[in-house]
């Protein structure tokens, strides 16, 4: 294989060609073929490191194929295919080209075996993906895109500094397991953490994803965050702090998701919560936990994409994704509802759906390693997932309050994309061995034990019963229009206000100082004028005799002093 070959290049080459295909159906068919061709280049290749490239004194490896990179690249290819199919109706070449570049950069990053290549593709995902937000072409989307870009590029800069310092420390740029300790590794860890939406670093996700075009959000949901999960799994598996970071990530978004009105933002909070499960798995770091993380990432990309697609289909037909404006659509969009419910059951980890066979590996690993509190948090967070993604999403769109919306069912290509994703969710759930066979470590785990199925059903159905009781007693929160403050308040409201107050304070201070100085200067000028002006003391005409007298006095004093 030649030196520069990586499957990402197929996406980049296609992105160059795409704008020049004039007939939009030909363009859509061409786009759909890209992920399949790229998949064919690595799906049957032997594991190993290809495309070695000397670069100054560094040794770059663009294409490392092993079990970990294989699973992520595979699911990224599936996600690219499904989201391009879902976006069949799109004619906007900007969005199509950036989708290709984005998917290509994400796959390139997954195959990177050195940190420099990783950095290039890492920044590539940031720059390509922002156009999916800007493609909405509204003032709000433009500003949201700028905020998103600043944070994403910031993550890349931290990564770059980390890589340089790490090279100075170790003399290597290989992307292998790292131990947290030096400034370099902490910077790299932080760069990964920003893209992985760690607590307090998370808000770009909830800010940006609802702002993209409805097809753009589906694409966005697949790559950036799972790339960060991959990078953490590759670089920091078994790092204990990740267990607690992940546990916090599973819990906090749950409360925000429960009261959020924008359904795509609900899903963004939900995505954050799901990432938490994966991060816990990376932190535990046992083979079972890491397998769980990889399996969960795989299942998650598909069902989360499916949920975003179903909300997108409703947005496409009704023009809104706000829960307060939606409801009662089951009659007009029955197929979309069905696919949405498959996604909801998958994310809630119902037996026979993909979430069940993936998440349970992580939860079991937390129990096996004796992390009682973390295990409890994960269990509570699972109830939270059921609440906002399992119940709220389908309920508020298709049932809830009937708003009398008369719309058509989603277009065929959207239904096809959702149907394929739903089929994958069920296939993986029913035949988990197919997915388990792809995982990095041999899986010795049986998800379908009586114990496990029974306890999971008890957890979910009793939570469902609680929902029904709350609805009937009128205690379930009504959907209210509005925005909920989150950490982005700091940089969207607090800091700008602080700066504007600081700047007006500084301006006032400056003006006061200038006034004071001007007053003093005026007074000094007046005094000078009094002394030196035409009528001043100094300017008066003195008689020569008085001058002679004063000189005599001065000489006299000098004489006295010299004798002292």
């Amino acid at each position: 294989m030649s030196d520069l070959a990586t499957p990402a290049l197929i996406y980049f080459a296609a992105a160059l060609v795409t704008p020049f295909i004039r007939w939009h159906i030909a363009r859509a068919i061409f786009l759909l073929s890209v992920p399949l061709v790229a998949l064919a280049t690595f799906a049957f290749a032997q594991y190993g490191a290809y495309s070695n490239l000397p670069f100054f004194e560094l040794h770059l490896t663009l294409f490392r194929l092993d079990a970990l990179s294989y699973v992520f690249a595979l699911v990224f290819s599936l996600a690219a295919f499904l989201s391009l199919l879902y976006a069949w109706h799109i004619r906007d070449r900007l969005e199509q080209v950036s989708s290709l570049l984005y998917a290509g950069a994400a796959i390139g990053a997954v195959f990177a075996a050195d940190l420099v290549t990783l950095f290039v593709f890492w920044e590539g995902t940031a720059i390509a993906s922002v156009f999916l937000i800007w493609a909405r072409r509204t003032e709000g989307a433009y500003h949201t895109g700028l905020r998103y870009l600043a944070i994403q590029v910031g993550s890349g800069l931290l990564l770059l500094v980390g890589i340089i310092l790490n090279y100075q420390d170790t003399g290597s740029i290989a992307f292998e397991h790292m131990e947290l300790g030096s400034l370099a590794t902490w910077l790299i860890f932080l760069a990964f953490g920003i893209k992985c939406a760690f607590p307090l670093l998370n808000n770009w996700l909830q800010d940006a994803y609802p702002a993209a075009t409805l097809t753009g959000t589906v694409t966005l949901s697949a790559f950036t965050t799972k790339l960060a999960v991959y990078a953490l799994a590759r670089g920091f598996a078994g790092t204990e702090i990740l267990i607690y970071i992940g546990a916090a990530m599973t819990l906090f978004p749950v409360f925000f998701a429960a009261i959020e009105n924008n359904l795509r933002r609900v899903l963004a909070y939900s995505l954050n919560n799901q990432l938490g499960f994966m991060v816990v798995g990376i932190g535990i770091g046992t083979p079972l936990a890491l397998d769980g993380t990889v399996a969960h990432a795989f299942a998650h990309v598909i069902y989360k994409g499916l949920l975003f697609m179903s909300v997108g289909a409703v947005l496409y037909r009704t023009g809104t994704d706000k829960a307060s404006e939606l409801g009662g659509l089951w009659k007009s969009m029955p197929l979309t509802m069905m696919f949405c419910i498959v996604g909801a059951l998958s994310i809630s980890a119902f037996p026979l759906f993909s979430g069940f066979i993936a998440k349970s590996l992580i939860v079991s690993a937390s129990a096996d390693t004796g992390h009682f509190i973390v295990w409890l948090v994960l269990l509570a967070a699972s109830v939270g997932v059921l609440e906002h993604a399992g119940i709220k999403i389908p309920y508020s769109m298709f049932f809830g309050h009937d708003r009398g919306l008369k719309v058509k069912e989603a277009p065929f290509h959207m239904l096809l994309a959702m149907g394929l994703a739903a089929a994958l969710c069920i296939l993986v759930g029913v035949w988990p061995q197919q997915l388990y066979a792809l995982l990095p470590y041999p899986v010795d785990y049986a998800p379908y034990t009586t114990d496990h199925v029974l306890t999971q059903l008890q957890l979910l159905f009793f939570a469902g019963l609680a929902f029904a009781v709350l609805i009937r007693t009128g205690r379930y929160p009504v959907e209210l229009r509005g925005v909920n403050l989150d950490i982005d308040w700091l940089y969207r409201r607090f800091l700008p206000n602080l700066f504007s107050r600081l700047s007006s304070a500084i301006r006032a201070l400056w003006q006061a100082a200038a006034r004071f100085a001007a007053g003093r200067t005026d007074r000094a000028l007046v005094l000078l004028f009094r002394a030196h002006g035409p009528h001043g003391l100094i300017a008066r005409a003195w008689p020569t005799s008085s001058m002679v007298l004063w000189i005599a006095v001065l000489l006299g004093i000098t004489l006295v002093l010299s004798y002292l």
């Binding site: 109706h89 509204t138 709000g140 809830g400 009586t450 929160p477």
Partner: protein, 89 residues
């Protein structure tokens, strides 16, 4: 207001829960930490956590809910609804 959670739905859910709880007595389940091996642990945990979560979220909303135009024109929240099929450029 018409609700989709009719008495029938409630009774069906209640019956399923009753059966699941009964199965806990009939075949039981194991646990990893002791407390989770107690009968009905998962039943109670699911119900209680769900209710607690909803009440906590409602309390949180009192603190953090702001009008849609809170962030002004730099946000998508106050923008008018997208024309249906608006992305069909």
């Amino acid at each position: 207001m018409k609700t989709y959670i009719t008495n029938k739905v409630l009774i069906a859910l209640g019956t399923i829960c009753f059966v699941l709880a009964g199965l806990d007595i009939a075949i039981g389940h194991h646990g990893s930490f002791g407390i989770d091996a107690l009968p009905f642990f998962y039943c109670l945990f699911g119900f209680v956590i769900y209710v607690a979560l909803i009440f906590a979220a409602k309390a949180l909303r009192r603190l953090i809910l702001r009008p849609e135009d809170y962030y002004g024109r730099n946000a998508i929240d106050a923008e008018p609804a997208q024309r249906p099929e608006a992305d069909n450029v």
